[in-house]
């Protein structure tokens, strides 16, 4: 729901635009199950300006800072928080909890009446009038 809200808000700068894709960054520790998310996304976007958009989920692995190795290391899973190179346990998390909207891909309406029909154009007129009050 907050995804739809955020995307809808950001569309204010692009009147009449349609959303083709919503891209998320989701860390391995973010407790997000993609299948449920896809299912809910379809329902949550219904009737909103985001309806019909694709949801792309970019999964990010956990990255820890390993002090003995002196560098950031990537984990293959979330079952053991150890440096895969030296085997030492590490809890200095540098990546893995992300849960954010990275970007959206939109089709912008033509500025000069390219596609005058449809709800997008109507909304544009409405907001212009309101602004003029």
């Amino acid at each position: 729901m907050s995804i739809v809200e955020t995307v809808t808000e950001s569309l204010a700068a692009y009147p009449g635009a349609t959303v083709k894709e919503v891209r998320l960054r989701v860390g391995a520790l973010a407790a997000v199950e993609e299948e449920s998310l896809q299912f809910c996304f379809g329902m949550a976007t219904e009737g909103s300006p985001v309806a019909g958009a694709r949801l792309v989920v970019n999964r990010l692995p956990v990255i820890l800072h390993c002090a003995p190795c002196g560098k950031d290391v990537e984990l293959a899973g979330v079952q053991s928080f150890r440096c895969p190179e030296c085997g030492v346990q590490a809890s200095d998390l540098r990546q893995g909890r992300e849960l954010e909207i990275e970007a959206i891909e939109i089709d912008e309406a033509e500025p000069n009446g390219g596609e005058p029909s449809g709800a997008g154009a109507a909304m544009q007129t409405g907001s212009a009038q309101e602004a003029g009050k």
């Binding site: 995307v7 998320l24 407790a31 150890r82 970007a103 939109i106 089709d107």
Partner: protein, 224 residues
């Protein structure tokens, strides 16, 4: 028609994170140590918290609790038997507490002035998934696990255990009949959250409570 990529880079839980940051400042200004207790339903959070509150009050500390459940105020009534001020938060179907709920219940809580508290405990809704993602501004997140649940729970719910600052194993008084493998449990917690403090307790017999109360007192001196 032109296609355009608009970078947003906005956290999906940003609103909660912002409210939690405000709460964190509020707790710090009041000098209260705030703990968020998280576990599955049935782990014994309420029994553990009741005993904790009772013992803190007996030692002259000032403590209060907010307790989250989908419905009923049964837990608030159980906890109130300790003598501490307790307030129930009913989420009506929501599986976790969020920062907004905490803020609102603190705002109009007549029995409690945060500035007069040493400790505020927040007992979350019984759930090992969603509470992990909702920061309540707490200083210490406590993950609880009972001896009846299986030693591999930390491996099954790494997100929650990895975000915890302390772990409490409950119901140690029935560990033997349950065939609880203590070493495996401790090893699994450590695998997910290396170096975390682990308390082995029984709310019934009081085992492990002294160590836990000492930890609380030290944490309060350090943070509040």
């Amino acid at each position: 028609m032109t296609t355009r990529i608009v970078e947003l880079r906005r956290g999906i839980l940003k609103k909660n994170d912002e409210l939690a940051a405000e709460l964190r400042l509020r707790y710090a200004a009041a000098g209260a140590l705030v703990l968020n207790l998280v576990s599955s339903p049935g782990t014994g959070k309420t029994a553990f918290l009741e005993r904790t509150l009772r013992e803190l009050l007996a030692r002259g500390s000032r403590a209060a609790a907010l307790v989250g459940d989908l419905e009923t105020d049964n837990d608030a009534r159980r906890l109130a038997a300790s003598g501490a001020p307790v307030r129930q938060i009913n989420t009506h179907g929501i599986c976790h507490l969020d920062a907004d709920m905490i803020g609102k219940h603190l705002d109009n809580w007549e029995a409690v002035d945060l500035a007069q508290l040493d400790y505020l405990f927040i007992e979350n809704v019984g759930n090992l998934v969603c509470p992990a993602s909702y920061d309540l501004g707490e200083k210490i997140r406590v993950a609880l696990l009972s001896v009846t649940e299986g030693e591999d729970k930390p491996l099954k719910y790494p997100t929650l255990f990895n975000s915890a600052d302390a772990a409490v194993i409950t119901k140690m008084d029935i560990a033997a009949p349950c065939g609880f493998d203590r070493e495996a449990a401790v090893r699994n917690i450590n695998e997910i959250r290396p170096g975390i403090r682990i308390f082995e307790t029984s709310s019934k017999t009081g085992a492990g409570m002294d160590e836990w109360l000492t930890y609380l007192a030290e944490a309060r001196l350090r943070h509040a």
